[in-house]
Amino acid sequence: MSISSRRDLILGGGMGLGAVALSAMSAQGPHHKARAKNCIFLLMEGGPSHIDTFDPKPRLDSLHMTKFQKERNKFEANMNTGERYYVKSPFQFRRAGKMGIEINSLFESFSGVVDDVCFYRGLRAESVNHPTALYHLNTGNQFGGDPALGAWTSYGLGSINKNLPSFVVLPDTAYPQGGAANWSNGFLPAVHQGTPLRPVGAPVLDMTPPSGVTPERQRMTLDLLNAINSKHQQRHPEHAELAARVATYELAFRMQAEMPKVLDLSKERPETLAMYGDGPIGRRCLLARRLVEAGVRFVQVIVMGWDSHDYIENAHGARIRAIDKPIAALLKDLKRTGLLEETLVVWSGEFGRSPDNGIRGGGEAWGRDHNATAMPCWMAGGGVKAGHIVGATDETGLKAVEAVHPIRDFHVTLLHLLGLDDSKLRYLHAGREKQMSQTGGEVIREVLA
């Protein structure tokens, strides 16, 4: 590096600084024409029931309360064995959209947008344990520690807005099981880590100084720091990393200015705010749209509370009511702004639920246990076959039987829609070429438009 370019790094402003700091962010892709530029992943933590949401099973009405015995063996979880009985869905279903899909009647607003949605019933998870299944869905590996889908997307596509992180997570009030490893950068460079924007407290950690520190004071301290660093840099001209580190301070302060603008909902139209509703899920969905608009590549919205082993009517009922308006609003709003064409929206849990239940609560507290062989999932926007149902589960909803694909194919498909080829999107780590799907997978062609 020449002296003059180094001086530019230290003294210059604007993009040059960010470019150095984020040199690790140079994009690997796209590998082919992308159908979507961004992704909003609505993660329903706890395992929502497909049977009680988008895949009704009338056969369970006649089987309701039929008891049977499932032998306890080492290949079954204790939870899923012993005396079992079938459980019908306590919910009413309504036909919606041109395709006439039957969905839970509580989805009042969402029923109006199903023609933009591709419902996929062929997906299968592998684990019936929350954290391993969450890690699997988020990172492709049941062990924590690998990069999340958002991190791979950021690595593959790079950043659009250099002042904002390219992978943002909007967690629920509590961190999910397995914690921050669900949005880890894993072995990818740290810039690809998901940045959680907390629902309480400062949205980005330490983005603002402790109370009482004025911007003026901060600027003076920063100027002194720059002077000390600049002197030091002159003693070590060979070391470009030093300049990059100086640049991150300036970048951080631009982010400090940019982020509050994105998070400020006060400029939204009243009808938009009303459409999302004033609940916390509505706020997260609206923020997701704003973040995508501002150039964030991958936004994950987490909604917890779907683990309804008991009292599914209450529990799922409340959850469905809570998400109905916000998710419908998100799709409508994206469509209104034209963003839906270039944004892939995904809705999924970490697994589905069983048609049967254990005998807890004397058979009164109807609920459902975990099920990895069938699960609810839908996609909308960029590149998916809107207004279609793809795949099918068996008559009780125990297993996916048509267009069946494992999670890794789901990942390959989502990357594919984002213009990334899983087999090319690789990273050499510890002497091994690693990829999202671990060992490769195939695109689920049936869901593509």
Partner: protein, 787 residues
């Protein structure tokens, strides 16, 4: 005549093309055919794979095979960076061969990757040791660094803390010839050495105080393993003994508490068994984890790759994987009572236990009060305290003299693993059979295997017993063996990496074909030989390396310090570091928002994070902080502290903007800057430079800092510091699984019990202004880089 020559040449090319393509068969052959491409025959190459035909005879430039090899379309084969490319003469041979129509001599193609000798470097026996040599016989180095640079370099390297101004001064003035070796001896004798180098080892073994997954329950006695590691480094325990104790301490030296604590190594991976887990899966996850981690830690092998299929690149068949796994099939989890050792820190345990019992008792009595009530709000609260009670039940065991360990077969009364496991009966115990599991599928076992070692390194080691006990001893003795070519190489390479930032072989956990080749194999071999010759002394290896001119050279590659070194250094230079060593993990001051963040635990929430009330505890070195898998100190995390779930062979040092937030805006940095400012009275600017950077400012720096200080002092005088905010209650919200509604819990700590850091409102404008100067110094490149 020319034609004859051409034909001869071509035939030679044919042979070499066929030969060269064999390298690709691991992935594009019988076993794998990635991208549906099979390179074993001419037909299959013409047919090609998912990307189309691989070879178009006569048209090399259009043939995908050549384009991939030359990385023409943005994809490179073999994959990796430019260093993985085939050599130009090979590429040329393939080009000539395709252009000549791709002629093919029929022969039975190999179905297995042919190993090139250079890929098997790590498996070769070590050459005999030339004792007359030194490190400098293998490497060149220019001028020697100045003494100030040297003492900072080696002090941070060996202790993880910067030298004090007094130490710097003494070394700079010490003109004796043996000043350098004396300095090294002093640092190696410091208890801080084991804390620094123990941390490196804990990175590799993924040390944590919790089990991860849904409940992330505490491993209440794991800290004794952490302290064992620190002691081992401080005592310079011979590395072969260190290996034997960690793999089979219980078998080899059953009478030694130390050796039994060491076996905690085998249980370091994340692990959980709940009512929703499948028992055979949980057990298999442990067996896979321990097989892989033992091989990676001690042998630098990616043996886990052979779980589903024969290793694609290294000579490690799946059968070997399961034979080694069978060594662990009789390994059972135990938490036996083992009295505390004289060297263990048990100070304050009684008081801490009484305190936690108080908190646990409150949770339990609240739970009992709420039991049986139907109201959904109350039931959620009941579940919360039920979860907290389960949490404390585990956590309270940290004060008990037990060990987080294993045994060969179960032990009455000491089995470990929670209520959901079906324990084997001691009397009827039989080591479970192990089968090869093709594709890693536990439901489709194939051939049964007996315990064994890697076929490749079969240097006449005695066979592994099939009895319940003794399997791990056999493995340990085979690894901790001077005839094992990997063991010493892997360890000296790790040591080299921590001294220089990069190993001689850069992938310290992967000595196979896909790992980077050693940049200086002769040096690596010589170091390995010296290591064995010294009786596996790690401290002797440090001396060998540190006394070299190569280590003392001026053009040393600068490095950013690791997260823990940064935190510990901030505490040290501000005079806030507590040097208490050992004992159960302490809770440092972490970002307040993260501390207050609710954390989901299966069905409810974890208790709120509580920083240790006493400064003396929370300001201890980072290695003694409680390592919770689901909650890593965000300050350490942002400075690239690794996930606690995977072995970390080498720290990432990427620079990201959020590091600036943490160090410039974070409460910890502000508090520590103020703490130092309040301690400096005379010539505060000069003193601040000396304390933080170990040197005085030059004239220009002093002038700039002094001017800033004066302006800031005026500013602070004009705006008084706001008072310390009153302690706010912790509010946690959870969405109920039973009602789908949100429930809110509020928790108020007793603020009187907490020993606060100094607050700006307790200081003068001059001190607060000086704190801003200190903050700038703590953020400077000079402070966080080592040269």
């Amino acid at each position: 005549m020319a034609k004859v020559w051409f034909t001869l040449l071509l035939l030679a090319r044919v042979a070499s093309a066929q030969e060269l393509l064999k390298e690709c068969l691991g992935c594009h052959g019988e076993t794998m055919a990635l991208s549906k491409l099979d390179l074993r025959t001419r037909e299959s190459m013409l047919r090609g794979g998912t990307r189309g035909a691989a070879v178009i005879p006569g048209k090399a430039a259009e043939s995908l095979l050549l384009r991939m090899i030359e990385a023409k379309d943005g994809v490179q084969m073999p994959p990796g960076d430019a260093s993985k490319r085939l050599p130009p003469e090979t590429v040329n041979a393939i080009r000539v061969w395709i252009d000549a129509g791709a002629p093919w001599k029929e022969s039975k193609a190999d179905t297995w990757t042919k190993y090139k000798p250079e890929d098997l470097w790590a498996f070769r026996p070590l050459p005999s040791l030339d004792k007359s040599k030194t490190v400098d016989a293998f490497v060149k180095s220019g001028s020697v660094a100045d003494r100030r640079t040297l003492i900072r370099r080696v002090t941070i390297d060996l202790t993880g803390l910067p030298p004090t101004p007094e130490e710097i001064d003494a070394f700079v003035k010490d003109k004796a010839k043996d000043a350098w070796p004396k300095l090294i001896d002093r640092l190696l004798a410091s208890p801080r050495y084991g804390e620094r180098w123990g941390r490196h080892w804990l990175d590799v073994v993924r040390y944590a105080d919790t089990s991860g997954y849904s409940n992330d329950f505490e491993r209440p006695n794991a800290w004794r393993y952490r302290d064992y590691v620190i002691r081992a480094f401080n005592q310079d325990k011979p590395y072969d003994q260190f290996i034997r104790e960690q793999i089979a301490g219980d078998e080899l030296d059953a009478g030694s508490s130390e050796a039994r604590i060491a076996t905690g190594f085998l249980r370091m991976g994340p692990w959980e068994h709940t009512g929703m887990s499948v028992e055979a899966v949980t057990r298999q996850m442990f067996l896979d984890d321990v097989t892989h981690s033992t091989a990676a830690t001690f042998l630098g092998l990616t043996l886990g790759c052979a779980r589903c299929h024969d290793h694609k690149f290294d000579p490690l068949p799946t059968k070997d994987y399961y034979r080694m796994q069978a060594v662990f099939s009789s390994t059972e989890f135990v938490r036996p009572a083992l009295p505390f050792l004289p060297g263990e820190n048990v100070a304050g345990l009684t008081a801490a236990k009484a305190h936690m019992q108080g908190v646990a008792g409150q949770a339990k009595s609240r739970m009992e009060e709420l039991r049986g009530k139907k109201d959904p709000d109350i039931f959620e609260e009941f579940k919360l305290y039920q979860k907290h009670t389960a949490h404390y039940k585990e956590a309270l065991d940290r004060f008990e003299p037990k060990a987080f360990a294993v045994a060969s077969g179960p032990i009455d009364g000491a089995t470990d693993g929670g209520p959901n496991l079906r324990y084997a009966k001691v009397a009827a115990y039989k080591a479970p059979d192990v089968f090869v599991l093709p594709g890693g599928n536990i439901q489709a076992p194939a051939e049964k295997v007996t315990p064994g070692l890697l076929t490749l390194l079969d240097y006449a080691a005695p066979p592994v017993t099939e009895a319940i006990a003794g399997r791990r001893s056999a493995l340990a003795n085979w690894i901790a063996n001077e005839r094992n070519p990997l063991t010493a190489r892997v360890m000296v390479n790790r040591i080299w990496q921590y001294h220089f930032g990069e190993g001689i072989a850069a992938d310290t956990n992967n000595f196979g074909k896909m790992g980077k080749k050693p940049s200086n194999p002769a040096l690596l071999d010589w170091l390995a030989g010296s290591f064995i010759d010294s009786g596996w002394s790690v401290k002797a290896m440090h001396r060998t390396i540190l006394l070299s001119a190569f280590y003392q050279r001026a053009d040393f590659t600068p490095r950013r310090v690791e997260a823990e070194v940064l935190r510990d250094s901030i505490l040290a230079v501000t005079g806030e570091l507590s040097l208490d060593a050992g004992g159960p993990g302490v809770y440092p001051q972490i970002n307040e928002d993260v501390a207050r963040q609710a954390q989901h635990r299966m069905g409810s929430l974890a208790p709120a994070y509580r920083a240790s009330p006493a400064k003396r505890d929370r300001n201890r070195r980072s290695i003694y902080t409680f390592q919770q898998r689901s909650l890593i100190d965000p300050m350490l995390e942002v400075f690239n502290a690794p996930s606690l779930d995977m072995s970390c062979e080498r720290r990432d040092t990427a620079t990201v903007p959020t590091q600036a937030f943490t160090l410039f805006n974070g409460q910890f940095a502000h508090d520590m800057a103020l703490a130092l400012a309040a301690k400096l009275d005379r010539q505060p600017v000069r003193a601040a430079f000396q304390r933080v950077l170990g040197r005085l400012p030059d004239a220009a720096e002093e002038k700039a800092a002094q001017a800033t200080l004066e302006k800031l002092t005026k500013m602070h005088a004009a705006t008084p510091a706001p008072p310390r905010p009153a302690a706010k209650p912790v509010v946690h919200t959870i969405t109920s699984e039973l009602t789908g509604e949100q429930h809110r819990f509020t928790h108020q700590e007793d603020p009187a019990a907490f020993e606060h850091n100094l607050h700006p409102s307790q200081t003068t404008p001059a001190v607060r202004a000086l704190a801003d100067i200190v903050l700038a110094l703590l953020n400077s490149n000079e402070f966080i880089y080592v040269y």
